[in-house]
């Protein structure tokens, strides 16, 4: 049988693909078996490590630097560190257990972490060319409270990968408390909302520090720093920043202005009211809505005329809030309003406030 060139090419490709597929079938079988075996072995090894760790913690003998049992356990750990898989399991188990123990036990675990050499591995990770290894390294060092690598990590706060710098920022805050916030002085890159949530999660654990100067960060050139610190201002009720907050109402970044109105609402700072009313026509719709939320808290009878001006706003939310606040601060004036307008939205709001909304 003679093949044309075209047929020969087709059959050659068929043979190549068939061979590849046969190989893939066998590989898939092996891979699935390996995954199963690996998972089983990992579980077993993890259990062993947990047991060893607990034994180590309780094998401490008074007066001795290290008991005989502890020395044996250290040897066993060191043996495991040669394998990358085992090293990962040991580190993970350390991290997991570290969150479950307290007091002296944490110290013991941290010292064991250093003794078996895991610390060196973590420090080595900082020099890796792969960004995610660097990030994991910082995370390990953060969890085991290794302060002596501070200088190396400070070089990473403006790293081009957000994951690396995020870990670096967390390292400083978790290990150095409010002092750690100083990394904000040198921050030239953005702090995403995700970053801010994680950082605030750490900041929340701090003891209130009156000496902390937040003002310098509220005046930072990095808008992300300002946004982040505004959250801290709110979190710790730092009302002494009031003047700076009022200045921030004129910030060039709209997001900062809106956030500032939110903080001012939280503190119910009355001085901001006139300031915003004066430039009300210049601000964005989002700021206007934020301002009306503020007015819901601070508006008084004297604001009735301002509210009247906005009961026919094109923005539903502003219109609703203006009417709602007006009803609260000056019900007589509210009652004098037309109850039937050509604006269906207006009628619905009035109906809602009069019939269903119990003020």
């Amino acid at each position: 049988m003679q093949f044309t060139l075209f047929e020969a090419v087709i059959w050659s490709l068929v043979i190549v693909l068939a061979i590849i597929i046969v190989i893939l079938i066998f590989y898939l079988k092996i891979l699935r078996r390996n995954i199963r075996v690996k998972e089983k072995n990992n579980i077993k090894y993890r259990e062993k490590i947990e047991k060893l760790l607990i034994e180590y913690i309780y094998a401490e003998e008074e007066g001795e630097l290290l008991s005989k049992k502890q020395k044996t356990i250290i040897k066993q750990f060191k043996k495991g560190l040669v394998s990358k898989r085992k090293r990962i399991i040991i580190t993970e188990t350390f991290l997991q257990l570290d969150q479950q123990v307290a007091g002296h036990m944490i110290e013991q675990m941290n010292s064991l972490y250093k003794k078996i050499g895991l610390l060196n591995y973590a420090i080595k990770k900082l020099r890796s060319k792969q960004w995610h290894i660097v990030a994991i390294g910082i995370k390990d060092l953060r969890h085991f409270k290794v302060k002596r690598v501070r200088n190396s990590i400070s070089k990473l706060i403006n790293h081009h990968r957000e994951e690396v710098r995020r870990e670096a920022h967390l390292y400083f805050i978790e290990l150095f408390g409010f002092e750690g916030l100083n990394f904000l002085d040198n921050l030239k890159v953005p702090l995403s909302e995700w970053d801010q949530i994680l950082l605030l999660g750490e900041v929340e654990n701090f003891e209130y520090d009156e000496t902390l100067d937040l003002k310098k960060w509220l005046e930072s050139n990095n808008d992300y720093v300002v946004l982040f610190v505004l959250n801290i201002v709110k979190l710790f009720n730092r009302l002494e920043t009031k003047d700076t907050l009022i200045d921030l109402l004129q910030h060039k970044n709209a997001e900062i202005r809106i956030k500032t109105i939110d903080i001012i609402t939280h503190f119910e700072i009355l001085e901001a009211k006139e300031f915003i009313i004066q430039r009300f026509s210049e601000i964005s719709d989002k700021e206007k809505v934020a301002f009306f939320k503020y007015l819901e808290k601070v508006a008084k009878n004297e604001d009735a005329m301002f509210l009247i001006e906005h009961v026919n706003s094109n923005n539903f939310e502003i219109k609703h809030r203006a009417l709602k606040i007006l009803k609260r601060v000056d019900v007589n004036l509210y009652n004098k309003l037309e109850k039937n307008s050509e604006d269906a939205e207006y009628n619905r709001i009035i109906d809602y406030l009069d019939v269903s909304y119990g003020v």
Partner: protein
């Protein structure tokens, strides 16, 4: 003589057309596989050390509304809502929109969740059908996150729009009420929105996994099983290919054109700005993404449609041919409608990747692909009958196409094994391999048939809309 010459030339034109089309489609699959693997590796690296728990207690975590339209879901509505309410997130609410159900869905919800009618001022930003019984909230503080809206029937898109009007959250998670969400799904889905500082993430889509035969209790996925029915097995493979390879690659290119209607997270502000879901198309999930992207392109705002490959959302797939064909028929009509609505962006460089890559890809390979395939088959039969083709050529070509499709399925399975390895049980590997070999004969002909029927219905049966999806309920699996 001249007649023969014309026929030969026509045959030649067809010949090269099919050749070029085949090369393009094979090439695009290879390229997508490469992009997908790069994106998957990047995603796994990025998220291997992320602690999502921080988001659970944060005061500044953004608010999310889960919007789930329900139409005649009485059978499972109570369990499904319970599953949605057990989501682990700090700042969310669940809005169930009962879209004019004719059954006792509302009564069951009222009874199960101790609901009472409340006055609710709705900002009608997107027009919808009017309310029927109104808005309900629970008297029981344990269900304070639940809002049930009962409205006149207007279809899925209309119900979602009603949910959008009710919501006051920053993000909207639009889902099918019968979907099972993993507890940390919102945390994972919202992450891209919070991560980017150089562009706005307007939507994020998740992988949809098939829950048929899985063990589910109290709205929680306990065990992932591989079903016995071939139709379900083949759909699992198809979903793996589509979600782990296709969409992952498009996410890498920032060219994702569709987020599954079963589970997607949207920026509420942008969704409202573009007017919410289009109630006139059956492809509303694709349409809203195209419109949101179009809006961002026209406003020249940097943006991204993100994609999360984690298996977060599990749903029931059709287990019989009739329902399957009806579903795919609708998908085809949806694609045609959306491409038609937005034809302005086709090959339009002003729309960047959207106009020059995503849209043309969908048009050529998703819209016209099945038609070209059927034409190719007819052409091939014509050649067999009228041209002296050797059987070795026919067999060789058939095997080549078949083996290539197997190869692509294997790539999808390997991606799954290396990443999430959901089908752990011994013996499933063999079943997966068997599915790879049989899927081109079991599922593909149905897909092709449904696509052709979809084309026919689109042009000649305009009255056809959604079709019925009969659900058995995940808890009964």
């Amino acid at each position: 003589m001249e007649y023969d010459y014309i026929i030969r030339n026509i045959v030649l034109v067809f010949h090269y057309f099919f050749l070029v089309f085949t090369v393009l489609i094979v090439g695009s699959y290879v390229i997508l596989a490469v992009f997908s693997s790069r994106e998957t590796i990047e995603y796994l690296k990025k998220n291997s050390f992320v602690n999502y728990k921080d988001l659970l207690t944060s005061d500044v975590a953004p608010s999310i509304s889960i919007i789930a339209p329900a139409y005649n879901e009485s059978l499972n509505i109570v369990e499904n809502v319970r599953s949605l309410l057990s989501t682990h997130y700090v700042n969310y609410d669940v809005i169930i929109v009962n879209d004019g159900s004719k059954d006792d869905s509302l009564e069951k919800l009222i009874k199960a969740y101790d609901l009472e009618r409340i006055e609710y001022l709705i900002n009608q930003r997107v027009p919808t059908q009017p309310l029927r019984a109104g808005v309900f909230k629970s008297k029981n503080p344990a269900f304070e996150k639940l809002i049930v809206v009962d409205k006149e029937n207007g279809g899925k898109a209309d119900a979602l729009n009603c949910g959008i009007n009710i919501s006051e959250s920053r993000y909207l998670a639009c889902i099918d009420v019968d979907c099972l969400l993993l507890e940390d799904s919102l945390q994972r889905m919202v992450k891209p929105f919070l991560e980017y500082t150089d562009r706005k993430v307007i939507a994020s889509g998740g992988v949809i996994r098939i829950a048929n035969s899985c063990k589910i209790e109290d709205g929680k996925l306990l065990e992932v099983n591989y079903p016995d029915k071939w139709l379900e097995r083949c759909q699992i493979l198809e979903y793996l290919r589509s979600f782990l390879l296709g969409r992952m690659a498009w996410a890498r290119l920032n060219g994702l054109l569709v987020i599954s209607g079963a589970f997607g997270l949207f920026d509420r502000e942008i969704a409202i700005k573009v007017g919410g879901y289009d109630t006139k198309t059956v492809g509303e999930d694709m349409e809203i993404i195209v419109r949101m992207r179009r809006y961002m392109e026209e406003e020249k705002l940097p943006y991204k449609v993100a994609y999360i490959p984690d298996p977060l959302c599990w749903t029931e797939a059709p287990d019989n041919r009739k329902i399957f064909i009806s579903q795919r028929n609708r998908w085809t009509r949806g694609t045609i409608e959306v491409l038609k609505i937005h034809k302005k962006i086709r090959w339009n460089p002003n729309y960047g990747v959207l106009g020059m890559l995503s849209y043309p890809y969908w048009m050529i390979f998703e819209r016209y692909g099945p038609i070209v395939e059927v034409l190719g088959m007819i052409y091939f039969i014509f050649l067999i009958i009228y041209q002296p083709l050797s059987w070795s050529f026919i067999l060789g070509l058939f095997l080549l196409v078949y083996l290539f499709s197997l190869l692509f399925s294997f790539v999808a399975i390997f991606t799954e094994e290396f990443t999430y390895h959901q089908y752990k049980r011994k013996g499933i590997g063999f079943k997966l391999i068997l599915t790879v070999f049989l899927e081109p004969f079991i599922l593909h002909p149905l897909v092709l048939y449904a696509a052709m029927r979809g084309n026919y219905d689109y042009y000649f049966n305009k009255k056809k809309k959604w079709g019925v999806m009969v659900r058995k309920g995940l808890s009964k699996s």
